[in-house]
């Protein structure tokens, strides 16, 4: 059999279409890799038992000549996106045995094309974390160094793509949960514009921030998946229909990339990240992009805004897990006792922490000082970005402030939160952002750079990203 190690979705498409490989052979290649590596890396929480049937069905579509972009393409799905009849736990004890009663719109669009889902991938519980160390089912290890985390919360999805345990994957991104693990694992991760992809069937965490996005080996592959899952959905009132791309080149001018150099002066950014970032800028200049120094005066407030708005939304979204309607139910003396026991035992520590934090920032005496100020700052940040995008086509930052950390290295929640410093802003303002692999540290750990673009201008990210990666 041919070497499939460097396969991409677009290459696989050609092999499937020309019948050089069957959908069944392709699925079996990934199943074999999963079998060989999953015990060590803990990437999949469940490998579906009907993958061969799915692949056979896909092959029939191919044989009938009705194939689409993802027909027969083996993908992984994060454990917080619903497929009707299949288990989906959000890596939480509270949903351990829950089976979805409906299918997420993004998934349905892939299933309609005959895409093959291999299994559901590990994550931080309810997507709360940046390392999968908050999963109720153990940490996912980084394929580049199994002593280190794969990142998170979509750590399983990123590791699956990096370790050839899937050809592509769906992740979700609330504050960086697609981009950070993609950077840690040396793959591409796209957080689309807020609303570009329906959230119907995504387990809610921070509803004004959550996005479903692809994790892939190439920008081209991310674009393929994005183009299929995007679109207005009547089941998600915040979803938007794709207008004509808002991006128009400024005549014959070069594409301009803004770099907020001032944010690199803050503490906690590793020397190797800074050096790698400088090299990435040089590479972009060599590719004939114009680099412009820009100022985003309030960007230093982003992380504070995020860690107020997100827990506030978490505290209300998590209220539905009460031991009554579905999921875990722990018996108690009375109804209140059932609630408290179920939620006390069913939620992991980080989830409990964020609910309590959210309850605090929303409580009457503190509401305006925290949530009120955060929402005003959110609006100002949105305006700052809108102004910046009048001058530049995209904004470049590192994705991460340091490469993947060792398991157990971060000892306080705040320490882990600070790792989101570059990624949260795109969620706060709702703009699209992509993480691109940008090389390795001296220890061979992957690094990433992040590009952000105006709302609904994913096409800018794809255009610059492809050139950056030489696609």
């Amino acid at each position: 059999m041919m070497d499939l190690k460097n396969l991409t979705i677009s290459k696989a498409r050609k092999l499937l279409d020309s019948k050089e490989i069957s959908a069944i052979e392709l699925a079996e290649y990934y199943l074999k890799n999963i079998e060989a590596k999953n015990e060590e890396l803990n990437v999949y929480l469940e490998v579906y038992d009907d993958v061969r049937n799915q692949a056979e069905a896909a092959q029939k579509i191919i044989d009938a000549g009705n194939l689409k972009a993802l027909t027969g393409i083996p993908l992984a799905i994060k454990d917080n996106i619903l497929i009707k009849g299949r288990k989906v736990s959000a890596a939480s004890k509270i949903l351990e045995n829950y089976r979805a009663t409906y299918t997420a719109t993004a998934v349905q669009k892939i299933l309609d094309q005959g895409g093959v889902f291999l299994g559901r991938t590990n994550m931080d519980e309810f997507a709360m974390g940046g390392s999968t160390e908050n999963s109720a089912f153990g940490v996912t290890k980084n394929p580049h160094d199994p002593e280190r985390v794969a990142g998170g919360s979509s750590g399983g999805s990123a590791a699956a793509v990096a370790a050839n345990m899937a050809l592509g994957a769906l992740g979700t991104d609330t504050g960086g949960s697609v981009r950070e693990p993609a950077a840690f694992c040396g793959v591409v991760g796209l957080k689309p514009t807020y609303g570009a992809v329906s959230r119907y069937g995504l387990t809610a965490m921070g509803s004004s921030l959550d996005c479903i996005g692809p994790i892939t080996k190439t920008v081209d592959d991310a674009e393929i998946i994005f183009n299929i899952i995007k679109g207005r959905d009547e089941m998600d009132s915040t979803s938007i229909s794709p207008p004509a791309p808002s991006y128009t080149k400024r005549g014959s001018e070069k594409t301009k990339i803004g770099v907020p150099y001032h944010i690199l002066e803050q503490e906690g950014i590793s020397k190797e990240v800074k050096e790698n970032f400088d090299e990435s800028i040089k590479k972009l200049k060599d590719l004939n992009f114009e680099i412009v120094d820009i100022k985003l005066p309030n960007i230093d407030k982003s992380l504070a805004v995020y860690y107020i708005v997100m827990p506030a939304e978490v505290s209300s979204n998590m209220a539905r897990y009460d031991g009554i309607k579905y999921g875990l139910s722990v018996d108690g003396e009375n109804l209140l006792d059932v609630y408290k026991k179920t939620r006390g035992e069913g939620f992991g520590k980080e989830v409990r922490r964020r609910i309590i934090l959210g309850t605090y920032v929303l409580s009457s005496g503190y509401y305006d000082a925290y949530y009120g100020n955060a929402m005003r700052a959110r609006k100002v940040l949105g305006e700052e970005f809108a102004n910046a995008f009048k001058e530049v086509d995209a904004i470049l930052t590192p994705t991460i402030s340091a490469p993947a950390w060792k398991m157990g290295e971060k000892t306080t929640p705040l320490e882990e939160y600070l790792a989101d410093i570059f990624t949260v802003t795109a969620n706060i303002v709702g703009c699209p952002a992509i993480s691109l692999p940008s090389g390795l540290t001296s220890n061979n750990l992957p690094l990433g750079v992040q590009l952000m673009a105006p709302h609904m201008s994913e096409n800018i990210l794809f255009e610059i990203g492809k050139k950056f990666l030489g696609e």
């Binding site: 309607k325 939620r343 922490r353 309850t359």
Partner: protein, 98 residues
């Protein structure tokens, strides 16, 4: 400094059972997080913006559908009942409330 008792009260409001020892840990951790996010209180936007409420600060617009075309009665009942921890004769069963 947020106290252990405050944490217990917040946990009660959020319907989460928390042991004494954990409440102690949580007080320290949440205090550190609040210490960081407090920097938002030094944020002074211009006059006009500081007057708008938190809700107006959001540019997200909700689009509700018309309240028409309901599902056929019972179409989803069985699937949803199947996921309920306690049922009886097609009803969700809960503890005595009153």
């Amino acid at each position: 400094m947020i106290s252990k008792d405050e944490i217990k009260k917040l946990a009660d409001l959020a319907r989460i059972g928390v042991e004494d020892e954990e409440a102690e840990d949580l007080a320290g951790e949440i205090d550190a997080i609040l210490g960081y996010v407090k920097l938002i209180q030094q944020f002074h936007p211009d006059e006009a913006l500081s007057k708008i409420s938190a809700e107006e600060g959001s540019s997200v617009i909700n689009i509700l559908r018309e309240d028409t075309n309901p599902n056929e009665s019972g179409a989803y009942t069985e699937a949803i009942l199947k996921e309920m921890p306690n049922t009886e004769k097609g009803f969700l069963k809960v503890k005595k409330i009153l």
